[in-house]
């Protein structure tokens, strides 16, 4: 079937580009432009979320003292620079909301799925370019509405990113009404954006692969992004439905989650986590995919156990829908149900370990090149293992009862989400920056950025495990209120100082990013000597990507093939005139 690879739009060929400026850079339907737009947007939101974290850390490390420069904040938030408890709750909520929905999720799927999928499968663009554009432009009102919460009467949503009912659906408890409504609307719009993205990614991977690009020749990053899109497609509508009911509880007077009206607050938790756990994998699977590509490249070896990697991604995704109850062990759930959730959760360790051992197997006896993306990928690998192991602690119901809602949970989520997803995102940015912008990033600055981030990241988040085991509650405004937490206050100070340094360690990245954008040396076609199709087109690729639809002859990880003059063998290079020896 030729249609599998034929451009959906007959006029789309690489080379001639006569779009007006506005269609080219602003309301563009080109997947590459949209990916880059997502990159700038998500990095902006990442910065915002990071700044919120800094204020939170200041309050926890030095409670009751004015935040430096905090006097610019209005009195409703921080009179004289001292954080109000209500503002603290809003910050915690919005830090989570922004990092998960508006920073990491668009950073991993919005940027890399958009930019990489068509290039890696040899397609001229996404299946539905116009929907793709909408997917980006819906993120702007979503983010703006969420932010607007800070400036309305009563302040921003303050019931945590999980918005547990009835804390969230009645202003009685948090004193927030308009902010929570704005939060709901923002997340619903975000859901629409995510849906458009997912439909696009799935349809593109299924129907627009180039000739010869069979399923088992797809790069693992594409596999991971594809499965992630399926997860988002099926999980996010549940959140949308749940949030619509939460919104109606507030504006229409319904009683879905209000116990006073006969509603079930636990129903919110079930619906939320039925979305929430797949969401966790939405945030980590693309990271695993990016890391697989980078580690194989950095080790100059074929990825170890390609097929098992694919099935592991599928297994993690499938199991991910059956474990949501492990977030609710203390909700008084039926022990039979709790035990089955415990078992299914522990089962996830199996496909996850398969992936970890496969990465180690890939690096084993490899000719490892420690380039900056590879450093970040190894950072991902080591930190993700720590986060994964603490996850197994929490999967055990009796242990979870003890550490539930403590800083142990905070440490865990940051080990997988910062240590996992963000290191992989950095690896991805360093890796594909030359392709995206046609310029190379500075190597030395990249190494400094990675080293400093790695050190201060561990200094920030590892002590949180200890705080949590000591009983330090999550979302606590002032730890010094409790005598039993007072001896641990020095740890809190240490964590806060490390967090500030971690933030400062991002400066080399910001400088490197913008400096390289304008002044970096011109990037060659294939700086990493990679096999995948995006490295066969110019940097940056032209509108329409490929002059001729490429033909694929092999998988993407054929590194160091014996008998080849180079240590890599691009996917579209016709096979040499001999039988390949495997």
């Amino acid at each position: 079937m030729t249609a599998a690879a034929a451009p959906h739009d007959a006029g789309l060929h690489a080379g001639h580009d006569d779009r007006p400026w506005l269609r080219r850079y602003v309301f563009s339907t080109d997947h590459k432009t949209i990916g880059i737009q997502f990159l700038f947007l998500s990095l902006t939101f990442l910065l915002l979320g990071g700044l919120m974290a800094m204020v939170i850390r200041w309050q926890l490390g030095f409670p009751g003292t004015p935040v430096p420069g905090g006097s610019i904040l209005p009195d409703a938030m921080a009179p004289g620079g001292v954080i109000r408890p209500s503002f603290y709750n809003a910050l915690v909520t919005m830090h989570g909301t922004f990092m998960i929905f508006f920073a990491v999720m668009p950073l991993l799927t919005g940027v890399f799925a958009n930019y990489l999928i068509p290039l890696k499968i040899g397609a001229p663009d996404m299946a539905f370019p116009r929907l793709n554009m909408w997917s980006f432009w819906l993120m702007i009102p979503a983010g703006t509405l969420a932010l607007a919460g800070f400036f309305v009467e009563g302040g921003s949503a303050a019931s945590g990113w999980t918005a547990y009912a009835p804390l969230s659906n009645s202003p009685l408890y948090t004193g927030v009404s308009a902010g929570q409504i704005l939060w709901c609307v923002a997340i619903i719009i975000f859901g629409a954006s995510s849906l458009l993205g997912s439909v696009n990614y799935i349809a593109t991977v299924v129907n627009l692969r180039a000739p010869g690009m069979t399923w088992m020749r797809l790069p693992l990053s594409v596999w991971a992004l594809f499965i992630t899109a399926i997860l988002a497609l099926l999980a996010v509508p549940i959140l949308a439905g749940a949030i619509i009911m939460l919104l109606f509880d507030q504006v229409l007077g319904t009683h879905f989650y209000l116990p006073t009206g006969g509603g079930q607050p636990l129903l919110w938790q079930h619906l939320f986590w039925f979305f929430g756990h797949p969401e966790v994998y939405i945030l980590i699977l693309p990271a695993m995919g990016i890391v697989s590509d980078v580690i194989a490249n950095g080790s100059r070896k074929p990825i170890f156990g390609y097929t098992s990697m694919v099935f592991a991604i599928g297994g993690i995704a499938g199991l991910g829908f059956m474990v949501w109850g492990h977030h609710m062990f203390v909700s008084g759930m039926n022990p039979t149900l709790g035990t089955s959730f415990m078992a299914s959760t522990m089962l996830i360790a199996v496909p996850t370990s398969i992936k970890v051992f496969n990465w180690l197997g890939t690096m084993w006896r490899g000719n490892i090149h420690f380039h900056v993306p590879m450093l970040n990928a190894i950072g991902f690998l080591s930190m993700f293992v720590i986060g994964g192991l603490s996850g197994i602690f929490m999967a055990a119901t009796p242990v979870d009862m003890y550490i539930h809602d403590t800083y142990f949970i905070v440490a865990h989520i940051h080990y997988v989400l910062f240590g996992g997803s963000l290191f992989a995102a950095f690896a991805g940015i360093y890796y594909w920056f030359p392709k995206m912008f046609g310029r190379e990033m500075h190597d030395g600055l990249g190494r400094w950025h990675f080293g400093l981030t790695f050190v201060f990241y561990n200094l920030t988040f590892f002590p949180m495990h200890l705080l949590g085991l000591g009983g330090h509650m999550r979302r606590l405004y002032d730890p010094t209120q409790y005598p039993f937490l007072a001896p641990m206050q020095p740890i809190n100070v240490f964590v806060s100082v490390s967090a500030f340094l971690l933030m400062a360690a991002q400066l080399p990245f910001v400088w490197n990013f913008f400096w390289s954008l304008f002044r970096g040396p011109k990037a060659p076609l294939n700086p990493w000597r990679d096999n995948s199709l995006e490295w066969t087109v110019p940097s940056p690729p032209p509108h329409g990507n490929f002059v001729e639809t490429p033909t694929v002859y092999r998988g993407p990880y054929e590194y160091s093939v014996p008998g080849e003059p180079e240590d890599f063998l691009p996917q579209d290079r016709p096979a040499p005139a001999r039988q390949e020896a495997h």
Binding site: M1, I238, L266, H270, F321, N334, L337
Partner: protein, 92 residues
């Protein structure tokens, strides 16, 4: 490639089936049938009607099997969600 064959089943017959099933459903409600039996019957009838619509109006019957997979994928997830939560609340 897909302009080649369009199987058009007898749509009016499907419509007749849907109509009859609906009439049976509504009539059953007004008859004195034991509650459990009624609920079971209604659910089966609804599933039958839904299947008619999906197979013939949405042409699932004439599509590649893999497309049916796309359509069916969400159903087990929805059932898992509802059954697990229901047994959690209905333990009275």
């Amino acid at each position: 490639m897909d302009a080649a064959d369009h199987k058009h089943p007898n749509y009016v017959a499907v419509w007749g089936g849907l109509f009859v099933l609906t009439v049976i459903e509504v009539a059953a409600v007004y008859m004195r049938i034991p509650r459990h039996l009624l609920v079971l019957a209604l659910l089966l009838l609804a599933a039958w009607k839904a299947l008619l619509v999906a197979l013939y109006f949405m042409h699932l019957r004439f599509e590649p099997k893999r497309l049916a997979l796309v359509a069916l994928a969400p159903l087990p997830l929805g059932i898992i969600l509802v059954v697990a939560v229901l047994q959690e609340f209905a333990k009275r």
